[in-house]
Subunit: 378 residues, 2 copies
């Protein structure tokens, strides 16, 4: 039952929790121990434990998907989508979001203290893959008493995690909603990852990754984020937001950020370094590059029946273009999987998965109702 | 008359020349004096001085458009287009190419020695605009005895110069062939300029632009070039050239350039710093950002009759997308100008203007024959 008031209210004040477990064997062959995951939950697990939904964050996201942290004014990164009456309706579903393995927002990652040395891991941290992230999530679900997910959903790197769920744990996930994502990083996507990493590593303050006693490579990380932001927007959304407007009303023959778009990018870069760790940026972008579920890896032949899919792409997304989502759909259709595809007409570029929540909500509500075997108005 | 042998031979060994003049008043209000332009010419100016063609280079180009420098194996940047029997047929036309004002390949720019101080200008160099570049070119043409150009042609920044010729000197240019260019830099294009500049300026070796006694900011400039190269190629051309191939046949869980695309970009970056000056990169990208012939600036109302136009765009060019060329065409058609538009089906992205020379040749040969009032086979 949806209440309009509830939809407006959201999940209210929330706290990030942590769960630690002994360790994890990684795809690289190394073992990481112990492992902590930061996570939040919204709504309640029902009696037959059939209503759990995992939402998976993108590169710079975290466990705080919805609601407000005490004293903060900015809600979680997918607050428009998670809450009473929203797409992931917390009156119906038990929603879980965890900071990824390798992250820097409460989960074990390069910036966490290595208990063996008493210092942050830095670049001694083992490489993690999207497969490792998902296996860490299964440990959290075990802890929460969730055997099978009703759904795993997320955009971009979050979408890769949902595909990995389908590939690695098809018996633990009934449905999957990947948004603005791909079966594999293309060379152009690898190239953008690489220039971001080079921006970080070229900053002398990076110090080969051992910067924790000195402060992080702010200029390099800010530059990486500026490059990233260009790829998250579209030509059209930049034109709409900035056009050629200048901050002072004129150009001044200088290298200062005279154009609004320059000021915006510098501002976004400067903000990012306050909340994100540079080594983590390196590790997570590398995990993206290594991601590859092409061929028969998404649905191994002879494997279990695949989950149901709702694949969502955005017309103006040139970083994870719609053709990559269609490739996912083609693989699924080739296996007679139950798959719905929608390309949303948006000018927001890759950021659209965080912004086009009205259209996403309609699609996701009906899909989840069908997956639950219920009417959308139940 | 075209000889097939001539077409294969090209213009042979050429030398870059220089022309110096007293000085130039710049759009910024500053005066630059003296000014030297490096240039090359191919073919001969005819008796009535009616066969001169100016080819204008892009950001990282130079005066060496065609033929070979003594002892070098790599020809000029548009050798496929300039020579006997080629698009700009040196049996018919007198072709001129000059390094732009503000450049670092023989023309006066930030890396030139300031005669007033005996040291390179560095960031004391005045800002130059595309308008300044073109006014400097008119001085060179005066020197060469060329009153009116039969044609001005070039791609990208070179295309902007050709548009500037039409806007500022419509009585000195009979036809214009802009390729892969725009009436004005969009916010996305400004944004890519800006991250390239930030890459240079974030390198401590940049030293505020005073690096000439110490060696240039190689790492920052290489990174700027890496970012640039992503924008010069297309998603499709990168897929074709690199796909997800690795250099050793496997990924190794490292931040090394494991993927071929990473190795390629690093290689291109490392090569670039051997031949290009970092401050020049800042100044020329700023000139691109300031470029704006939108509104009625391309063809001022009440102005002279415009030259004839052949506007060429490339389907996969996402840095200077075809819609920007169509905007040029729309402005021209609105003024009843003689304009031909062609969008070439290429997967090479922005680089296509340097690579799709067969299709370009057909279009340009016929256009120039018509502009000259001759049959293409004359």
């Amino acid at each position: 039952m949806t209440s309009e008031k509830g939809a407006a209210d959201g999940v209210g004040v929330v706290k990030t929790q942590t769960y630690s477990f002994e360790g994890l064997e990684l795809e690289s062959g190394r073992r990481l121990a112990p492992v902590t995951l930061a996570f939040e939950t919204y709504g309640r697990l029902n009696a037959d434990r059939s209503n759990a939904v995992l939402v998976c964050h993108a590169l710079s996201g975290d466990a705080h998907a919805a609601g407000f942290h005490e004293g903060e004014k900015k809600p979680g990164w997918w607050d428009a989508m998670v809450g009473p009456g929203k797409a992931f309706d917390t009156d119906k579903y038990f929603v879980i979001c965890a900071n990824v393995l390798g992250g820097c927002r409460g989960s074990t990652g390069p910036s966490s203290v290595n208990p063996a040395t008493g210092h942050p891991h830095g670049t001694d941290f083992p490489f993690v893959t999207v497969g490792d992230m998902v296996r860490a999530q299964t440990k959290l679900l075990d802890h929460l008493g969730v055997g099978t997910l009703l759904c795993a959903s997320g955009g971009s790197m979050g979408g890769m995690q949902t595909l990995q769920w389908a590939a690695a744990f098809p018996d633990r996930v009934k449905s999957v909603i990947p948004l603005a994502t791909t079966l594999k990083h293309s060379p152009q996507q690898i190239a953008f990852s690489e220039v971001g990493r080079q921006a970080v590593m070229a900053d002398p303050a990076w110090r080969g990754g051992n910067y924790y006693a000195h402060g992080q490579p702010e200029r390099g990380l800010a530059l990486a984020r500026m490059i990233g932001h260009i790829t998250y927007m579209s030509d059209a959304s930049m034109e709409e937001k900035f056009s050629r407007r200048t901050r002072s009303g004129q150009t001044g023959f200088s290298f200062n950020p005279e154009f609004e778009v320059e000021g915006y990018l510098r501002n976004r870069g400067d903000h990012f370094v306050q909340r994100f760790d540079a080594n983590t940026y390196l590790y997570l972008t590398r995990a993206l590059d290594y991601f590859d579920l092409s061929g028969d890896k998404l649905l191994p032949s002879g494997g279990k029946a695949p989950p149901k899919f709702l694949v969502i792409a955005f017309k103006s997304d040139w970083l994870y273009p719609a053709y990559q989502s269609k490739e996912i759909v083609n693989v699924l259709r080739g296996r007679q999987a139950d798959v719905t595809y929608c390309e949303i007409q948006s000018t927001y570029g890759h950021d659209a998965f965080l912004l086009e929540f009205e259209q996403e909500t309609t699609l996701i509500k009906h899909f989840l109702a069908r997956v639950s075997g219920k009417n959308v108005h139940d």
